[in-house]
């Protein structure tokens, strides 16, 4: 287990080096000159433009820019944004909000997805199974921004039940609607997934054996059916936690949340290499940690899986 952990953690190093290099290359390849764009259509003073290029190392080849970034990041110096703020401050403001939002969406989709999936799966063919089926198909097929705009209009603008947009230092109520919108598609997928797993596991030999041994119904359901059915759900949830961070952008735009998605989007528009790379690197790290956590969780759910 220890060796396995160490190996997985060491794998992070080439992943981070590779992603930062790739992102730097992509930002560098973006058409247009970020310094000219700063002048916003006003006459460009070349002497000033040269000063700014030198300040942000934009006059150097991208490999050199990348090496400078790596060197500085060893001392936790990620440089400044074009607006003159330390990158670390910008990242530090954006991530807590998105993590909060992502985790709320995660909890929402996990709890409701599994509950509805179980209800559906254990009661196949009943009327509420059909209702859940139709609703989940609807959520999967309607794009997130449509769900978002519709909910925002009715709950926010029309009925004044929930805040229309999110204020600074958002609390639980502020983020409730965005989190539901963000988690809705995954919730529907989890309902489908757990329902299918449960219906197929009910018919398994070991379930029949357990019943034949005279185990109580609840004990069969919880210990044999649900436990086995949840393995693919956990995989899905683990992979989804990272995707929620990245996919938060649509929710963030609709509800005006100043999180990672919005910050990243604007950094790309401005061609701010260091900011883009810093944000993406952190997202990669979150993704790596989440998938490691999921892999470890398998062992808990399925005793056949062992890590040497």
């Amino acid at each position: 287990m220890g060796r396995y952990l160490l190996r997985r953690i060491l794998q992070v190093i080439p992943v981070v080096l590779g992603t930062t290099l790739l992102i730097y290359a992509l930002v560098f390849a973006l058409p247009g000159d970020p310094v000219t764009a700063m002048f916003g259509g006003k006459p460009v003073n070349q002497a000033v433009a040269a000063q700014i290029r030198a300040e942000y190392n934009l006059d150097k080849p991208f490999i050199v820019q990348w090496l400078i970034f790596l060197k500085n990041s060893l001392t936790f110096d990620f440089g400044n944004t074009f607006a003159g703020q330390p990158v670390i401050d910008v990242v530090g403001r954006a991530f807590p909000v998105t993590i909060k939002l992502g985790l709320m969406a995660f909890v929402f989709e996990g709890i409701f997805g599994v509950i509805f999936g179980i209800i559906s799966g254990l009661n196949k063919g009943k009327w509420y199974d059909t209702v859940i089926l139709v609703l989940s198909l609807l959520l999967i097929s309607v794009p997130t921004f449509v769900t978002g705009f519709v909910m925002q209009y009715f709950f926010g603008v029309k009925w004044h039940i929930l805040p229309v947009t999110v204020s600074a230092n958002p609390g639980f109520l502020d983020l409730l609607m965005p989190a539901m919108v963000l988690g809705s598609v995954s919730m529907a997928s989890i309902i489908r997934l757990s329902r299918t797993e449960i219906t197929s596991n009910i018919a398994e030999d070991y379930v029949r054996t357990a019943r034949a041994k005279g185990m109580s119904n609840s004990s069969v359901t919880v210990r044999h059916i649900l436990r086995n059915s949840l393995i693919p759900v956990v995989t899905y949830l683990g992979a989804d936690l990272g995707a929620l961070m990245g996919g938060a952008m649509i929710s963030e735009r609709i509800f005006n949340i100043q999180g990672v998605g919005n910050t990243l989007y604007q950094a790309i528009l401005r061609g701010e290499g260091t900011l883009v790379v810093s944000i993406v690197t952190i997202m990669v790290l979150i993704f790596v940690v989440c998938s490691l956590f999921v892999d470890l969780l398998y062992a808990v759910l399925d005793p056949r899986i062992r890590y040497a």
Partner: protein, 544 residues
């Protein structure tokens, strides 16, 4: 054992997730009693230093916090603000400026030195200010663009006479200088700025209608009414809060719900409905932004100085059915252009000689095109192209323009997109576009000068300014310099109108329409109207 530990860790983790979501809910209606106005804003691209701010995110708060020598009223006329008087010498090359007795928000007096040092600092290339080129009219500017500067060298054209008086020597005569100094970059800076410019940018010392209260990055910029303000602006509220929105759709919904008092634009989804939307107050009026497209001066078959080229340029202009395109695609929220400036700019005229070339006329367009072909025929497979940037939502409009040209003249015409604005600008800068291309202009100060000199003078051509078509005409240039040496604004405007008539005779570009200024305010907000810059007059808004 290990399994159990992991399970506990997982449970703890889930609990933490839930808790992190349950922070305190913030309060939205704290300011119900006070008369603080909240408007939509965006995160400034630079610290709040006037000469380094060339975009509206920082520009809007800055123009509410700083008072220059002059301030523009709603109509765009310059009124003396900090200046007691601005007097020119006979040939308009030297100005003597006397100041009123004003104070900065830190209690220090606004002295002549606060202007001269601020302007020199802004012009000095070492300080890398984005607005530095606005100071190129002042003598000594070129000396401050060399390498090896320390950053505190002064413009040689600025001389302090006493605490309340200074003189400005210009490189050439300019009657518009007293208007130019109303542009944000010309704000005075308090002594504390020069000690620590960085700290100032996060917490500016101001002298305008509002003082700085706080800047919560990516969330709010809060300003408070300056009780000692004695300038020309009327301040009807107790403070202004610029709330950061990354999407106008979200801001519009907040206005509808009454959470946001006013916004300076309208969400794309509401363009058709905002004027009839009963949950908001709407404002729409002709604005100062001019949309046009330009012919490069050496464009094949359309070149300047060539009779056939001129006829073809006129034919293209008369082939664009502006009103129809505005009605069908712009939802009627633009006004067809009849000149090269805009209706809200002092000096505008709707009766310039030759402005019939800016009106749709199928017969005349066709006749001019055929006449050009008699002089020098154009190949029958010629395709007239207009390039535009695809990220600004121009597709429908430019396709319609191309179709209008196609149908009127019976030639092939197409709109060719370039993916992003930034890439589009780069290709223009490198002069790589050999066909017509889209342009838009928002003036920096309310004078025809801000359009004509920036966009069509020889001095702004060849990459030295925004004359992206490299149009050059000595007669036009001399009319501009006559306007520059004029004694009064009215006299100057006469020369500007003659210069515009020269443009109508040469057609270096095709003015399309003035973008209407559009905005919405929540119910119950009073005095909601737009200024010459298409921005609501924030200081006059009130909830009482």
């Amino acid at each position: 054992m290990k399994k159990k530990a992991l399970a506990i860790a997982a449970a703890a983790c889930a609990a933490a997730m839930l808790l992190s979501g349950c922070g305190s809910s913030s309060n939205n209606n704290a300011s119900a009693e006070s008369n603080i106005i909240t408007v939509n804003g965006c995160e400034p691209a630079k610290p709040l230093v006037p000469s380094n701010t060339v975009e509206t995110c920082g520009g809007d708060p800055i123009s509410e916090m700083f008072s220059n020598l002059v301030r523009f009223d709603d109509k765009g006329n310059a009124q003396n603000e900090v200046a007691e008087s601005i007097t020119a010498n006979d040939d308009m090359t030297q100005y003597t400026i006397k100041l009123k007795d004003w104070k900065f928000s830190d209690g220090t007096t606004v002295k002549a030195e606060n202007f001269t040092k601020a302007w020199s600092w802004a012009a000095n290339a070492k300080n890398a200010q984005l607005g530095s080129s606005f100071f190129n009219v002042i003598k000594g500017y070129d000396d401050l663009q060399k390498s090896g500067l320390k950053g505190d060298e002064q413009l040689s054209g600025l001389k302090v006479v006493d605490d309340k008086t200074f003189t400005v020597d210009l490189n050439e005569p300019s009657s518009t200088f007293p208007i130019l100094v109303g542009y944000a970059a010309f704000a005075p800076l308090a002594d504390s700025f020069f000690k620590d410019p960085k700290a100032f940018g996060n917490k500016p010392v101001t002298n305008g209608p509002y003082t700085f209260q706080s800047w919560d990055h990516n969330q709010f910029i809060k300003l408070l009414k300056n009780k000692d303000y004695k300038g020309t602006a009327t301040v009807n509220n107790d403070g202004l809060t610029f709330k950061v929105y990354t999407d106008t759709e979200a801001a519009y919904k907040d206005v509808q719900a009454g959470n946001l008092d006013a916004m300076d634009t309208v969400a794309q989804s509401a363009i058709k409905t905002f004027k009839t939307d009963s949950s908001v107050q709407a404002v729409e009026s002709a604005g100062s932004v001019l949309q046009y497209f330009i012919f490069p001066a050496d464009m094949q078959y359309f070149a300047q100085g060539d009779k056939a080229g001129l006829l073809r340029r006129q034919a293209i202009s008369m082939a664009v059915n502006r009103q129809q395109i505005i009605d069908k695609i712009g939802n009627g929220t633009n006004t067809p252009a009849v000149d090269f400036t805009a209706p809200v700019i002092p000096g505008y005229s709707d009766s310039l000689k030759g402005n019939e070339y800016l009106k749709y006329n199928k017969e005349k367009a066709k006749a001019a095109w055929d006449e050009a072909n008699k002089i020098s025929p154009i190949p029958s497979d010629y395709v007239f192209k207009i390039s535009y940037n695809a990220d600004g939502g121009g597709k429908d409009t430019y396709d319609a323009i191309a179709n209008s040209i196609k149908n009127t003249l019976g030639i092939n015409a197409e709109a060719t997109p370039i993916p992003t604005f930034s890439e589009f600008n780069n290709t223009i800068e490198k002069r790589q576009i050999k066909n017509a291309f889209r342009q838009a202009w928002q003036p920096d100060y309310p004078s025809p000068d801000s359009y004509l000199k920036s966009l069509y003078s020889s001095g702004a051509a060849d990459g030295n300014g925004s004359n992206n078509g490299d149009y050059k005409n000595a007669k036009f240039d001399s009319l501009l310099s006559q306007a520059a040496s004029a004694k009064t604004t009215d006299e100057a405007n006469k020369y500007f109108q003659q210069a515009e008539e020269q443009l109508l005779a040469d057609m270096p570009s095709v003015p399309l329409w003035y973008a209407n200024a559009k905005g919405v305010a929540a119910k119950g907000v009073k005095n909601f109207k737009m200024n010459w810059q298409n921005v609501p007059i924030y200081e006059e808004l009130s909830k009482k």
